[in-house]
């Protein structure tokens, strides 16, 4: 029995040992699994660390990029707002609080150096009360020499500035300007008032970066450029104002002078008109009595007396002709001559006048040519007056053209008018004569004029007639080679 108990005990012990061994094995396996799991978790945690660090870097980059993109867009808006402005105060008015807020700043001010008074003058204040602005202005001016030195160094200064500055103290600025971080940038136009631009924030959670510093520097440069533009505009504007004033003064002087000339011209016209009328009456009598005597109605006259009377008659005719020309000029000048403006065929007029002048040409063996452009439209003119123009000009041409010479009459369309050219191969005129040629009583000093008498009124009359037709007249001439007279007449509209 006891043996049996021993066997049972041994068997049980063996079984327990086996079970213990199995359990030990299970625990061991579990421990291995736990360790594996722990390792996996640790590995996972290490991976998580890598992910977190990478994510933070990416976030930083992304945030900086987003901020820069947004800031650049705002800067562009700001630039647009101030770049087109040409008045100093208006430039700073263009810097709106909303733009600065978009850039991350809630306070801003700007000062320009006033050379005459030797102080900084406030031109911008955003986010400050009047009292605060006054206190900042006072502070800046109490340290104006230091600030001026800093402005001339052309470098920004900020809460994160790496560079030391003996004039500016970041903590002092943060206290006076009531900000937790800030950026100061000099305003440096090429010429004119330099100054200071300040942007800051009172929000301790906003951190200023180097990117912000660059941004505010760009904005300060933009302000400088706008100030420069405003200065240049002001200079140009002042110059223009001065010029306009000068022009106005000169115009006034010229108007006064012109009025005076008109008055004198009228007096001259009135005088000539009066004298001419006064001359014509006695001349008519002289010519009448001379004719009576010549017709020997009062008795036979000796030949010598007859010869003298014929001269009186001839000179009286010349005098009447001259007085008539003078009266015509005066009438045209004063607008008293009524022009009968009608459509005129230039071909017909040239042909008529050519016929008239042909005899004189034949006498001197001068060749007269006409060349009128085909299908030339009619001109608007007074036929009688126009014939006087042609007769005068062709008469002169014959007069100054030696024997076997050549005269041509050409007409063509030119710039909405008809241009007529009467050219001769005559003795020509010196350049100094051309400027006076159309003046009354002017006669070119040459051999022909010394031999042939003239009134010196013909060309003046021609000029008045052409101008009364709204045309122009001019002359080209070379001594020894001939002259060409040009005039224009308006076409029918």
């Amino acid at each position: 029995m006891s043996f049996l108990l021993v066997i049972i005990a041994v068997t049980a012990a063996a079984a327990m040992a086996a079970m213990l061994s199995i359990k030990m094995e299970t625990v061991k396996r579990l421990q291995i699994n736990v360790n594996r799991l722990k390792r996996s978790l640790d590995e996972m945690d290490e991976q998580a660390k890598l992910i977190v660090r990478t994510d933070m870097e990416l976030n930083k980059v992304q945030q900086e990029l987003d901020k820069r993109t947004a800031s650049l867009a705002t800067l562009q808006k700001l630039s647009r707002s101030i770049s087109g402005v040409l008045e100093v105060r208006a430039i700073f008015k263009g810097i709106k609080a909303s733009y600065l807020q978009e850039l991350g700043f809630d306070k801003s001010c700007a000062y320009l150096w006033n050379e005459r008074e030797g102080v900084f003058l406030e031109v911008l204040s955003i986010g400050y009360t009047e009292e605060e602005t006054a206190a900042i202005t006072q502070y800046i001016n109490s340290k104006r020499h230091g600030y001026w030195e800093w402005v001339l160094r052309e470098k920004p200064f900020s809460s994160i500035s790496k560079q030391e500055n003996k004039f500016l103290k970041a903590e002092e600025i943060e206290s006076v300007f009531k900000t937790t971080s800030f950026i100061l940038s000099p305003i440096l136009p090429a010429e004119g008032s330099k100054g200071i631009f300040f942007a800051g924030t009172a929000n301790p959670e906003v951190a200023i970066t180097e990117g912000d510093e660059e941004l505010i520097t760009v904005l300060a440069n933009q302000i400088s450029q706008s100030l420069e533009n405003a200065r240049l505009f002001e200079r140009a504007w002042t110059t223009q104002q001065s010029l306009e004033k000068n022009v106005e003064e000169r115009t006034h002087e010229l108007t006064v002078a012109l009025d005076e000339v008109r008055k004198i011209s009228k007096r001259k016209t009135d005088f000539i008109s009066s004298v001419s009328h006064e001359l014509r009456t006695p001349l008519t009598s002289v010519k009448g009595y001379a004719s009576i005597l010549l017709e020997e109605k009062l008795g036979k006259l000796p030949d010598a007396a007859k010869e003298r009377l014929e001269k009186i008659n001839h000179h009286s005719d010349e005098l009447v002709h001259m007085v008539n020309d003078l009266l015509d000029i005066v009438r045209i000048e004063s607008g008293k001559t009524v022009m009968k403006i009608e459509e005129q065929d230039l071909n017909g007029i040239i042909a008529t006048v050519s016929d008239l002048i042909m005899i004189q040409c034949k006498n001197k063996n001068i060749k007269l040519e006409t060349d009128v452009q085909k299908s030339l439209p009619p001109v608007m003119a007074d036929r009688n007056q126009l014939e006087r123009v042609f007769i005068n000009l062709l008469g002169n041409a014959v007069k100054f053209t030696p024997e076997k010479g050549k005269i041509s009459v050409k007409a063509k369309r030119s710039d909405g008018a008809v241009e007529v050219a009467i050219a001769d191969s005559g003795i020509g005129m010196p350049p100094e004569a051309l400027t006076h040629l159309f003046e009354e009583f002017y006669r070119v000093d040459n051999a022909v004029n010394q031999q042939v008498k003239g009134t010196g009124l013909g060309l003046s009359l021609v000029k008045h007639i052409v101008e009364a037709h709204k045309g122009k007249i001019w002359v080209e001439s070379t001594v020894g080679r001939g002259s060409t007279f040009y005039f224009t007449l308006p076409l029918k509209q």
């Binding site: 996972m44 660390k49 992910i51 977190v52 660090r53 992304q62 987003d66 947004a70 909303s98 959670e205």
Partner: protein, 407 residues
């Protein structure tokens, strides 16, 4: 008669003009001429009694008004930094509302403030079925947690409450609350809805867990002293491979982009916690409590995961709203409005793409459903569809909460 809703936006600089324009635009959206309530969001620069009086004047009578100032307004047209948004509601007899406020929130102990606000809301509330409450609080988020707890003591433990916490712990500017003609600070105010109001709420953040789970081995209130037996900051030092001094320089950004996530049983979600300060001994102070023994992980998000969270929040709010609406016809015919409360810290990650979330929510609800909202510093809201039935209103950091109402 059913619920009638109109929203108006003005970006006028003058508060009087802004008030008039926003009310006029909201009125144009409405069929009814009767206005029973106004909800107002404005930028800080427009915050004034004058704004509120002009809104009342433009409405043409005294109606209950609640609202708040915000860093930015969420509108159907995107994110606006300056302006005023007015929501006008014409409420049928089948829906009951009351509004109330409490002041000196900082002096309230524990859940006292929440209880007081709830009592005031309930004071005039008739024997109608209570539906939900929307609360704005000028409080740090830990106070907001107490506020919710206090309100739930009175309103019921399974009662849905959405709290917009409007003051950040390191917020540089003040936030103002609007109640009728008063501009309040250090206060909380809310509206309690009852009756046949349909509503849907969705709230997600989009951050995903990363690395191995860690245990909070020592903490009290919102301060975590040790994680896995080491000082709390060491977790961040290890993950970012940098010294405490370097971490301190950028810790606000780091803690927003990489918060700790507390695993919540049964909800498959993580509650986010931003650290707001590093203590001298390496402890981390968070915006809300982290209980000792909590399992935490470092969290990470991408823009896409944030957009996905916005979509999920909107879809959930829409689904809940449709489920809650009384009958089939009201699901298509009745007016509705979408309120969006978004944590300001999301803007840090999304940056210029922040408006994309608004677009996503609009796409979910359709172009005709008006949308209004504001940036907050955190919200208290149930995490998902059924959670408020399980007594779990959580504080969210960095979440987007979508509240849709209709009826």
């Amino acid at each position: 008669m059913s619920l009638d809703i109109g929203i108006g936006l003005s970006t006028e600089k003058d508060y009087s003009l802004a008030a008039k324009e926003a009310v006029r635009m909201a009125g144009m959206d409405m069929v009814s001429e009767k206005v029973d309530m106004a909800i107002v969001f404005s930028s800080r620069d427009l915050s004034s009694i004058g704004l509120l009086k002009n809104i009342a004047l433009s409405i043409g009578g005294e109606v209950p008004l609640i609202g708040c100032s915000a860093t930015a307004l969420l509108t159907p047209h995107g994110i606006i930094k300056h302006g005023v948004l007015v929501v006008l509601l014409s409420i049928p007899a089948t829906i009951q509302t009351t509004t109330a406020y409490i002041q000196e929130l900082k002096n309230k102990k524990g859940t006292e403030g929440g209880r007081e606000l709830a009592d005031r809301l309930l004071a005039d509330f008739k024997e109608t079925r209570r539906v939900m409450s929307l609360v704005f609080a000028d409080s740090s988020t830990e106070d907001a947690a107490n506020l919710v707890a206090g309100m739930r003591e009175r309103l019921g433990k399974i009662f849905p409450i959405l709290v917009g916490s409007l003051s950040g712990n390191r917020q540089p500017h003040r936030t103002y609350l609007y109640f009728n003609h008063s501009v309040l600070m250090d206060s909380a105010l809310g509206v309690l809805w009852g009756g046949k109001l349909g509503f849907g709420l969705g709230s997600y953040h989009g951050w995903k867990p990363l690395g191995k789970p860690r245990t909070v081995t020592r903490s009290h209130d919102n301060t975590v002293e040790e994680i896995d037996g080491e000082y709390a900051l060491k977790t961040y030092e290890e993950y970012f491979g940098t010294s405490a001094a370097e971490l301190r320089k950028n810790f606000r950004i780091i803690s927003m982009l990489y918060p700790l996530g507390i695993s919540i049983d049964n909800e498959g979600e993580y509650l986010l916690r931003n650290a707001v300060a590093i203590e001298e001994n390496g402890s981390l102070r968070f915006q809300a409590d982290i209980k000792q023994g909590s399992i935490v992980k470092l969290m990470l998000a991408t823009k896409e995961s944030c957009f996905d969270a916005a979509r999920r929040a909107a879809e959930e709010a829409k689904r809940n709203l449709l489920m809650g609406l009384a009958n089939e016809s009201s699901k298509t015919l009745n007016k509705r409005v979408v309120f969006v409360f978004e944590s300001l810290s999301r803007q840090m990650l999304l940056n210029k793409d922040a408006a994309q979330e608004i677009k996503i929510i609009k796409d979910v609800f359709g172009p005709d459903v008006p949308l209004v909202g504001a940036y907050t510093y955190g919200e208290q809201a149930p995490l998902n569809l059924g959670s408020y039935y399980r007594d779990t209103v959580h504080f969210h950091n960095q979440a987007i909460s979508v509240l849709a109402i209709g009826g």
